[in-house]
Structure formats: C-alpha cells, structure tokens
C-alpha cells in the first residue's frame, strides 16, 4: 500500500494568556499523507523541544506546499534519523525524483527494504534539492550524464491488462527484443 506523502507547513503556538499575549510562533515543515497527520506530528515534535503541547497550544495554520516545478527531475538529499532494533542512527540518502514528495516516498520504501525500518521509526530531518555537483551518492551521480543511453537487455513477457494475466504459459518467453 503506497501512501502518497505531501509536504505541509504547520505553524503553531502556545495559547495566549494574560501574562503572555503573543506567544512564540513555531513553524515546521513536515511530510505527511494528510493534514490531520501533519498536525499530529507537529505536536509530537514540538512538545519534544518546547514546553508546549496540543492541549495547551493551538495550530495557527496548516498549508500544503506544492512542488514549484513538478515536471523536472531533481536530486534530493535527505537527512534522516531512524530507530533500528539496537539503537537510533542518523543517515543521509539521495534520491532522484520530480518532487520532494516522490523522493520522500522513495525514502520510506528504501528504509523499509534496506533496514526493515517502519515508517513510524523514520524521522525526516531535512530534504532538499541538490545541484548535480552537490550529490554524493553514486546512485544519483550515475544519471548525471547528458547523453545517457542504455538498452533494456531483459524484458519479461507481460500481460497488457490484469484481465489477461494467466497462471500458466505454454511456451518459454523470449526476454530479448531486437
């Protein structure tokens, strides 16, 4: 089940009191599937670093941040922190995608596959687009070629629609294409 991640900006503060009529505003940029989760995570993180919680505070605004140029491929460098079975670690990963949301989705899938880290154990600290020369990982740098070209050496035979999927094949398919 792939969950579509979105970027939200949540701004919140403690409640205004007679002693403090304009409490400090705090802004967080979060990746969450919807506004409800975004607000929830906002309080989770904020109450860890400041003396404010959902019961004593208020969310001032929640805005979804859309990608400015969703049709160009970018390199994203993501700093994260995750809980493994034996401890918690920092990590830096790079992904190529058209949107930050896509890169974050890739991140969660990658962490699940490589480190068995569930989404609840992964905290994205920072995700930012990088210029080609700022990339560190070979998986991204390999695609920084203007004249990139490679064949598809192995093409598995495939049904064109789920209804044409058959359990048995009566001849061995050829995986090469001319």
């Amino acid at each position: 089940k792939k969950r579509e991640m979105r970027t939200y900006q949540v701004i919140g503060r403690g409640q205004a009191k007679t002693g403090n009529k304009t409490p400090q505003l705090y802004r967080m940029k979060l990746y969450a599937p919807n506004e409800v989760v975004a607000k929830s995570r906002f309080w989770y993180f904020l109450s860890q670093i400041r003396k404010v919680k959902k019961a004593t505070g208020e969310v001032v605004s929640v805005n979804e941040i859309r990608e400015k140029k969703p049709h160009t491929i970018k390199n994203f460098g993501i700093f994260l922190r995750y809980n493994s079975r034996s401890g918690t670690h920092n990590m830096y990963k790079e992904f190529r995608d058209t949107t930050v949301n896509g890169a974050i989705e890739q991140l969660y899938l990658d962490m699940a596959g490589r480190h068995r880290a569930r989404a609840r154990s992964v905290y994205v600290i920072k995700a930012a687009p990088l210029r080609a020369k700022e990339c560190k990982r070979q998986t991204c740098k390999a695609f920084h070629d203007d004249n990139i070209k490679f064949p598809k050496p192995h093409t598995a035979a495939r049904h064109t629609h789920k209804r044409y999927k058959s359990r048995f094949a009566y001849s061995r398919p050829a995986t090469h294409t001319k």
Binding site: H71, R96, T98, F143, F150, K152, P153, R158, T160, H161
Partner: protein, 146 residues
C-alpha cells in the same frame, strides 16, 4: 564495432516508446529525461498522443526503433515538429508490432456474428485451396511449384 552491436534500441532522451500497460496502453510517448535505472520521465506530448507528462517505469515501455533528436525536457512544440518531420506516426503504423496490435484489437472486439462470418470465410478459403491442390495432384506434373 557498430555493425556488431547486439542492442539496437536504447533507452535515451528522445526515444519513442509505446506504453504497454496502464490507462495509456498502446499510445506512443517520448522519453524526455531519465530518473533512474527503473523510471523515465515521459510525455506524449498530450496534444499529439494524449499522454501527459509522467514518470513511468521501463517495465511499462516498449522501445520503438524511432528516436527524435531532442534535448532534455524538450518543449511540446519541439517534439511535435520533430514527430511530423520524421513522419513517425506513418512509419509506426507500418510496423508489424502496430499491425498485430490492431489485428488483435479487431479480433477481440468481434461479436458472435463476426466470428460466424470468420468461420464461413475460413471454410470458403480452405475449400478453394483444397480443390486447387486436388487438381494439381491429379495432373502428372513434377516441376510445378505450390
């Protein structure tokens, strides 16, 4: 070296591909950028092929032998002019891959009456062939072909 190339169709910017799965199945599109080893950024363009700009995995693409000389993230108009210059659509319709798809589509859409007509046509054809064969075999000719 190039005469012995094993691969003739490459995943590259400008390669025209046919989408083989999903809602755009059967439509042509051009690769305008490559995301990573599994995915490419692709567009029809929408005006020409009704394929909007999207990331699509290579699994869903069948590479055709056509390649447009375009740059990374080329504009719709650029691609459309190159398509028309190269007469890609005409050439594509002559490809056996395309013709087979059309044939399969027609066959899939025939109703019971259509299948009945097909059966009659097949019987008529095989009757003609077998009567001809009989005539030839009764004649004492050795050198005649077919």
């Amino acid at each position: 070296f190039f005469l012995n190339m094993v691969f003739t169709k490459f995943v590259e910017i400008g390669r025209v591909c046919m989408i083989n799965y999903g809602k755009d199945e059967g439509r042509l599109c051009t690769i305008i950028d490559i995301v990573d080893q599994n995915k490419a950024l692709v567009k029809g363009p929408k005006k020409l092929m009704k394929v909007s700009i999207q990331i699509i995995p290579f699994k869903r693409l069948n590479l055709t032998k056509f390649k447009l000389d375009i740059e990374k993230n080329a504009s719709d108009d650029d691609i459309i002019t190159k398509f028309k210059e190269g007469k890609i659509m005409n050439k594509w319709m002559k490809q056996s891959v395309y013709k087979k798809r059309v044939k399969h589509e027609i066959k899939r859409k025939t109703n019971d009456f259509g299948r009945f007509k097909l059966m009659n046509a097949k019987i008529a054809k095989s009757k003609l062939v077998s009567s001809k064969m009989k005539k030839m075999s009764t004649k004492s000719s050795v050198g005649k072909k077919k």
